[in-house]
Amino acid sequence: MIGRLAQPGRPGSTAATQGPAGASGAGRIQLEGIRKQALETGRTRLLVTGAVFAVAFAVVAGRLVEMALFNEDREPRLPRAARSDPAAVGRLDVVDRNGVLMATSLPTAALYANPRQVIDADDYAAKLARVLPGLEHAEAAAKLKGRGSFVWLARNLTPWQQYEVNRLGLPGLAFHRAERRIYPLARIASHAVGLTDVDGRGIAGVERFFDETLRSGEGPIELSLDVRVQAVVHGELTRAVAEYGAIGAAGLVLDVDSGEVLSMVSLPDYDPNAPEALNSEAGFNRVTKGVYEMGSTFKLFTTAMALDSGTVGLQDGYDATHPIRISRFTINDFHGKKRWLSVPEILVYSSNIGAAKMGLDVGTRQQRGYLGRLGLLEPAAIELPEVATPLAPQRWREINTLTIAYGHGLAVTPLQLGSAVGTLVNGGIHRPPTLLKQQSGASAEGRRVISEKTSREMRGLMRLVVRYGTGRRAEAPGYLVGGKTGTADKQGGRGYRRDAAISSFVGAFPIEAPRYVVLVMIDEPKGTKETGNQATGGAVAAPVIARIVRQIGPILDIQPTLPEEMADAEKTRLDLPQFASAGMSLNGSRGQRRVAQ
């Protein structure tokens, strides 16, 4: 219409467009103005819209360039659901100090069937029985012919078995994913690592102590155990139990500087992968849960407390000629020397009389104090639920002081004994035993129990026991071993049994600068021809120590002392000659008779 107005006088134009003739010239200008305005508005609108689109495209282009050229490092974020999270298998692993797997959860499959979809039950049963060894043909066929829509067929299928069943291609079968706790090392560390029940809850050992952490914590739990050392101790103890017809044994290897337990073995034991065979005897951890009167090994503590408190010096001694009689008890020596014995000789020849007199001199209060600081009166603070409280006398009288001095009257766990001996040899600092791997190099916090000087004297005395005394068979070539034997009759009825004893040896090596404490305890050994029918600690436990030390020395990177260096080490680093002046004859003869004081 506006265009038509531009041609005036055209026939057929509508009346509305025709203005008065005189005003047509003026109307044209007016209409052109309106037209121009409309055009202008239209053009403006187009321009604005065009500009907006141009800006939008410019932004898109700019972003494209930016993303393509400048953001090469950043990955686009995917929705989390797209990524599978296999690390969340559930229960955490338990590893040893070198990363060897001791307990882990593996995904297993359980096979179930829908009997309604089963085509030929007998055929299925035959094929499945071939692939799954635990499945009985008759039982499977009966299940598959059943009425329901769901029936379990087999549990704990390995991935290989799962593959084989899949390959059969039988409809109506399906798998249900489950988790199974596996202990790859089987019996070797059964007591320390522990056990889980069917529901995946820890019921013994580390599995139970750290149950919450294992369920919902971070990273594998690193134990202080060393599987290689554990295997050696386990093998040697098994051999000893078989050789001496014993009813059980306990073995312990402790790091003296950090308190870490490198090996903890208790026999009899069990296979945690087959817990059905577990009876209470096998599940009993003798190292932490069994309390025993340790016998002569306690003389180490009596000697240490006597020396440390200044009650006696190395030159002093006691008369061990006659047995001690108190009320109805008699304290006597086993193969006694029946003469005056110096302090070193009391330890080396394991004199009960001498030790009892020494303990009496120390006094009940001091004895109790030292034993408490050595950790022998309280349960050990180790990361296991099976820890026993030591049995101590309710009223600590003189008779108790006498008997505890040579190791009867106070029943402790082998772990406490080992830890206390570690305190004696490491310079006198008591560090609590631990099953968790500690930072290497850093010595753990501890409290001082005896002085550095006493510790050095004790090291020398322990070497004397192995060199000249009852611990001769604990000598391991290349590694200076020092320690103490113990043969404690077990309690039976009102008195002590004559036919059953706990034979033990607790030692440290290399004794001139001890790194590890090794403890072996054999429960009710019987003498053999090799031991001369003896079943004492020196006869049955000491040889086990020698075999263990010989094997774990190289594993633990302990430099052996060459034969030509041994005499020198004994002289300078242990100062053995000082004991010669104390009347301790270093060549095995009967020693001088000194005037009793």
Partner: protein, 128 residues
């Protein structure tokens, strides 16, 4: 003139659309590949987990000890087989008449005979 510009823009629009669809298709394919690879990673990690358990089981020290004894004739090392570097006899110098005194004969090393193994196995190379 306007027609040329319009024509150019139309061509550009078509080209951009084609490019857009091509890129979108590529991105979809890559995403699908990513998801597939993620799943494969998950399966591989599970397989590694199972294999680690088997490895630990096969490395059980008493089993290795038995195998080493039976097939390689190895025994636990004894102290007699160890010596320190600074204690070894010094090497005989070239052209010198008398050899240096040897170590004391007390430390007799036990006779060790290696079984006839291929060189690769002795050096620790080769497939495990």
């Amino acid at each position: 003139m306007i027609r040329h510009t319009t024509f150019l823009f139309v061509v550009l629009a078509i080209a951009l659309s084609v490019a857009l669809f091509a890129i979108k298709h590529q991105v979809r394919e890559l995403e699908a590949r990513l998801v597939r690879i993620d799943r494969q990673i998950g399966e591989s990690q599970q397989a590694i987990h199972v294999l680690k358990a088997e490895w630990s089981h096969l490395n059980e020290p008493l089993r290795l000890k038995d195998l080493a004894r039976r097939h390689l004739g190895m025994e636990p090392v004894s102290v007699a087989q160890m010596q320190r570097l600074d204690r070894l006899a010094p090497r005989v110098a070239e052209g010198s008449a008398t050899p240096a005194p040897t170590q004391q004969s007390e430390t007799r090393l036990p006779r060790i005979s290696l079984p006839a193994l291929p060189a690769a196995m002795v050096l620790g190379e080769g497939a495990r």
